[in-house]
Amino acid sequence: MKSGSLRNAFSGARSSLVALGSSIGGIFIALIICAGLLLITGKDPLRAYSKILETGLDGQKLLEMLKRATPLMLSATAVAVGFKLNLFNIGVEGQYLFAALIAAEMGTHVSLPAPVHVAFILLVAMVAGAAWASIAALLKVVRGVNEVISTIMLNFIALSFIQWLFENFFRDDSDGGLNVKTTVLARSARMPDLVAGRLNAMFLVALLAVAVYWVVIFKSRFGFQLRASGLNPNAARTSGIPAKRMAVTALLISGSIAGLVAMPYVLGEAFAYGPNATPTQLGFAGIAVALLGRNHPVGIIGAALLFGFLDSTSAELQLSGVPSSIVKVIQAIIVLTVVIVNEASMRMFNKRTAERTAAKLKTASFPI
C-alpha cells in the first residue's frame, strides 16, 4: 500500500505531464500534416520549416516573439476565465477595442506623474472592458441569453459604436497625415521599454495577469467556487454556490483582462487609439491560445509564445518565397491536433487510472 499511495500522490503531477507530453505530440502531428499540405501545393516543407526556425531563432526575432505573445497572453487569459465556468466569451475582441478607445481618450484628460498615469490608464481599460462585458453578463442572468450569441453580436456593436465615438468625438486631426488617432498621450503615460523600441513593460504586466489568474482561479476560494460551477454546475448549486453571481463575476473578470489586450500598443507604440494603430483580431487569436494552453497558466504562456514565434516569422517567410499564410495554417492545425490529442490521451490516462485503482483496491484486503 505504501508505495502505491506514494505513487498516486503524484497522480495530479502525472496528469499534467500527460497534458504536456500530448501537447508536444500534437504539435509534431500538426507539423507533419502541414508538411503534407506544403507538398501538395508544391513547396518544400523542409525548406519552409528550416526557414521558419532560421528566421525565428534570431535574437531580434525572439524579442518580436515576446512582443507578439504579450497581447495573446492577455486575451487568452480573458477567454480562459470564461472557459473555467463553461462560458465562452467570444467578445474579447469587442471588449478590448472598446477599452482601448476609452482608455486612450481618458488618458489624455488627466495629468498625473508617470507611473500613476500609466496605472490610471490600465485601470480605465480594465473597467471599460468589464463594462462592455457586463452587457453580456446582464443579458445572461436577467434574460438567459447565451453569452456566445450576445458576445458575438456585441463585437459588431462595439466596432460600430467605437467608430461612431471615434469619428464624432475623439478623433484628433491636429497631427495631420493619414494615420488618424485619438490625441497623443503625454510622455508620463508611456509604458517604459524593457528593450528600447523592441519590447515594452506590458510584457511583464501580461505575465503578472497570468500569475493573478493562476492565484485567483486555482488557489482562491472564489476560484474554487468558479471551477466547481464549471465542472459540475448542479453539484455547485446544490452546495450553495450561487450560479448567477459566478457567471457575472467571471464575465466581468474576463472583460477586465480583455481590456488590457491593446495596451501594449496604446501605451507603448501609438500612444493613442487609432483604427490603423490598434491591431484587431487579437480577441479571436486569444481563443485559440486558450484552447491550446488548456486554460492553464503555464499552458497559456507556452501557447502564446508559440503563436508569437510563428507570427514573428511570417513577414520574412514571404520574402524568401515561402507563403506566409503557412504560419496561420500551422497555427490552426496545431490548435486542432493538440486539442484532439490532448483529449484522447487524457481519456486514456483517466481510464487507466481508474482501472489501476480498482485493481489495487481489489488485491488489497479490506474488512467489509
Binding site: A9, S11, R221, Q225, A228, A235, T238, G240, I368
Partner: protein, 403 residues
C-alpha cells in the same frame, strides 16, 4: 401540409378528434399525448410501450386513453403499460407483471388478484421489523415545512401543499415511488427551486433565503444522484470533500490546501472510504466509496438537519450498512433527519415516522410499527386504505376518511 392519407384516417377513428392543422404547442397535454401515440402507430408500430402515460393526464383523459388502448388491442396491437398506479393497472391490463429492484416478482391476472395482494407484491412482503431506538425524540422542531408548493409555469406543480416537521433526534422517512415529487421537495427545501409556503430551519424562517444561507443555518444534503449533484468526477477527492465547505477551509480568501486535505483524510478514515489517496480523481472510486465520501462530507459540517435522499442507492451492502449506522449515530446525537427513499427496507430500517408522498402530496403518515407492505404499497400507489385503526391521516389530507 400533406393531407392525412387513408391509414392516418383509420387511426383517427380511435376516438380522437384533433384538428390536424393545429400546432402541437396549441394542444393540451392529453391531446399531445394522443399525437405522440398516433405518431408511433402511423409509423406502423405494433407494440406500444407506455411509460407512466397517465402522469400528466386528468381523470377524464385517463379514461379516454384507456378506451383508445382497448380499441388498439382489439385491432391486434400489443400494449406494454408501465405504471405505479394500481387502479390503472387493474383497470387496463390483461396481465400484470410486478417488478421490484430490477427483477420481476410475479405475473398475475387482474381478475384473480386482490389489489392489496398486488400492493404487497410491489413493496415486498419480507420487510424487516423496524429497529428499536434508544434515545427519545427531542421536543424542538429542527425543520418545519408548511404548505410548500413548487412554482412551475403551465404544468401541474410536482409538490403541492406539503407540510411536516422534523424534531431533533428524529428520522422522518418520506416513502414513495420515484417521480412523485420527492426530488422537487428536497430542491424546494434547499431553495434550489422557487416555491410558496414556509421553510424553517432550527426555528429560523428561511423561506426567502438562498441555498447557501439555508445550508449555513444547519441543513446538510445528501443528494439523490451523487454523479449529477454530488461530485466533480474529474476533480480530486480532497476538492470534492471541500465542495460546500470551502468557507471553512479558506484563509484570507485563499483555500487552505493542507487543512482541506487533512479534512478529506478525516472523512476517508472515519467513513472508511477505500481509496489509494486523497488526490485521486473521484471517478476512480466505486459507487459505494463515492457515496461514503458524499455522506461524510455532509455529516462532517455538523448539521442540525440532514436531508438524505436515497443515501444508499446503487451501493453494496457493506457500504449501505455503514451509511445507515452513520445516520443512526447522527440521529442519536440530536440531528433531525429527513430520509427520502424509494427503498422501503431503508425507510423501515431507519425511520421514526413515515410520511408517504404520492403525486406531489403527503398522502399519509404512519408509525413504522404500523407500516405493513400492504398499507405502504397502497398509499404509495395512490390507493386508499380501510384500516382506520392503524393509519393516522396526515394533517389536511383526507386519506383515511374517504372510505
Amino acid at each position: 401540409m400533406a393531407r392525412p392519407d387513408g391509414r392516418f384516417r383509420r387511426l383517427l377513428l380511435l376516438g380522437t378528434n384533433i384538428d390536424l392543422d393545429l400546432k402541437v404547442s396549441e394542444l393540451g397535454v392529453g391531446q399531445r399525448q394522443r399525437v405522440e401515440i398516433l405518431k408511433v402507430l402511423y409509423r406502423g408500430a405494433n407494440i406500444l410501450i407506455l411509460d407512466e402515460p397517465t402522469a400528466v393526464l386528468v381523470p377524464q383523459e385517463v379514461d379516454e386513453l384507456f378506451i383508445n388502448l382497448r380499441q388498439l388491442v382489439t385491432q391486434g396491437a400489443t400494449v406494454l403499460f408501465i405504471s405505479h398506479k394500481l387502479d390503472e393497472v387493474l383497470a387496463v391490463s390483461d396481465r400484470i407483471t410486478v417488478m421490484r429492484h430490477g427483477t420481476t416478482v410475479a405475473t398475475v391476472v387482474p381478475s384473480e388478484v386482490h389489489r392489496l395482494t398486488l400492493a404487497e407484491l410491489m413493496v415486498g412482503s419480507d420487510l424487516p421489523a423496524p429497529t428499536a431506538r434508544v434515545i427519545a425524540i427531542g421536543k424542538n422542531e429542527r425543520l418545519v415545512v408548511r404548505d410548500l408548493t413548487l412554482i412551475v409555469e403551465g404544468k401541474k406543480s410536482p409538490v403541492q401543499n406539503v407540510s411536516f416537521a422534523v424534531y431533533e433526534g428524529e428520522i422522518v422517512g418520506i416513502a414513495g415511488v420515484e417521480g412523485n415529487g420527492q426530488f422537487e421537495l428536497c430542491a424546494a427545501i434547499l431553495g434550489l427551486e422557487k416555491s410558496t409556503g414556509v421553510v424553517e430551519v432550527c426555528g429560523r424562517d428561511m423561506t426567502h433565503s438562498s441555498t447557501r444561507e439555508r445550508l449555513d443555518a444547519g441543513i446538510a444534503y445528501i443528494p439523490f444522484d451523487r454523479h449529477r449533484e454530488g461530485l466533480m468526477l474529474n476533480s480530486s477527492l480532497w476538492e470534492n470533500a471541500l465542495l460546500g465547505r470551502e468557507e471553512r477551509f479558506s484563509h484570507a480568501l485563499l483555500i487552505n490546501r493542507s487543512a482541506a486535505k487533512q479534512a478529506c483524510r478525516e472523512i476517508i478514515e472515519r467513513f472508511d472510504v477505500m481509496t489509494p489517496s486523497d488526490t485521486v480523481p473521484a471517478f476512480v472510486l466505486s459507487g459505494g466509496n463515492q457515496q461514503k465520501l458524499v455522506v461524510g462530507r455532509s455529516l462532517s459540517v455538523g448539521p442540525s438537519v440532514l436531508i438524505a435522499a436515497h443515501p444508499t442507492r446503487g451501493i453494496d451492502v457493506g457500504a449501505q450498512a455503514a451509511i445507515w449506522d452513520e445516520i443512526r449515530i447522527a440521529r442519536d446525537n440530536g440531528m433531525a433527519v429527513l430520509l427520502v427513499s424509494a427503498d422501503l427496507e431503508e425507510i423501515l430500517a431507519l425511520s421514526d415516522r413515515i410520511l408517504i408522498i404520492f403525486d406531489g402530496r403527503i398522502s399519509a403518515e404512519l408509525a413504522p410499527e404500523d407500516a405493513d407492505p400492504q398499507i405502504l404499497g397502497t398509499f404509495m400507489t395512490g390507493g386508499r386504505v380501510s384500516l382506520l385503526t392503524m393509519v393516522k391521516p396526515a394533517v389536511g389530507v383526507s386519506a383515511a376518511q374517504d372510505l
